[in-house]
Symmetry: C2
Subunit: 189 residues, 2 copies
């Protein structure tokens, strides 16, 4: 594993349910340590465009050729705008790692999808792709991998994690996303 | 000099002259290396509120008590909204370091102020405060200091500079400010 690999970390901005869209922030980090670029796009709240937004963020970036992996905070952006890690991997040729601090409660998610969305089956199918792994690096995080095996994914998560449990590209995308929207960032790490 | 000192780095977002205001981004970094927080505020384009915006950014932040120094990209934010380093130092009790990559052409600035502003004398007086220092760390930058002596200011600039010439808090504030506004950051470092 090259220590200087470029990782794209993505998180969404906080929003209220009156909003139609919310911003998503991407950070390009070398070796998960040195910030090289900041990207911004948007997704529809509870829409279906999160995967395409990530794919286009990669394809339109001048960092595209250097990126080696995508890390996303959570399994959806902008509410229930579910992320299809398999599709993103197939279209960008970059492995995808999703990271959550809490173990997603799949029963609750399924109930919410059924209650709110006519296309709940499609969303559920997307959200159920991949296996949820419990990763302990001092703290525990929950992670899915697409286009990369468990051993390599863990290696990347480890090299990108400086303090606490959250890999830097996701921690920093989160600080920027909340800070820019709210005026001051709120850490969860 | 404590290596882990908290530095607030500030830069403005790009704008067009049709805009009335533009965003300013503050980043809180420990030792100029580890990002701890992101702050956002705004200033009037060509207004007179830049110093107060910085003072309030500091005072309203939950990082206020930990900050030890303020670094600003340039001698004005949002066009000719000039920064009064002396005032900021007096009101926040934090030393201020301004950093520019190019040596400001004071003659051109004076001409522009005279041409565009009734209050050009006041703006010029503010912008002329402090002595411009040429600092060579491999590359050259131009810097003014308020509330701190040259030796200590250089020490802080050095410890906060990882690659190239620009201290990390300013480099990262710049990446965020341009990336969020334009969709992708434009590096000058």
């Amino acid at each position: 594993m090259k220590k200087e690999i470029r990782i794209l970390g993505i998180d969404d901005m906080p929003f209220s349910f009156n909003d139609e869209k919310t911003g998503i922030v991407g950070v390009v980090m070398r070796g998960g340590i040195y910030l090289e670029g900041v990207l911004k796009s948007e997704v529809e709240i509870d829409g279906r465009d999160a995967s395409d937004a990530i794919i286009n963020m990669v394809k339109n970036s001048r960092h595209a050729g250097q990126l080696k992996i995508i890390m996303v905070d959570g399994i959806a952006l902008g509410g229930f705008n579910v992320i299809d890690g398999e599709k993103i991997y197939n279209e960008t040729n970059l492995p995808v790692i999703t990271v959550t601090r809490e173990k997603p409660n799949m029963e609750k998610i399924e109930d919410a999808l059924k209650k709110h969305f006519d296309d709940w089956k499609e969303r559920l199918e997307i959200i159920n792709k991949g296996e949820m792994h419990e990763i302990k690096l001092g703290y525990t995080i929950y992670s899915k991998f697409f286009g990369i095996d468990e051993k390599k994914a863990k290696e990347i998560i480890k090299l990108a994690t400086v303090r606490g449990a959250i890999p830097e590209p996701i921690r920093i995308a989160h600080l920027i996303a909340t800070g820019i929207k709210k005026g001051e960032s709120k850490g969860r790490c």
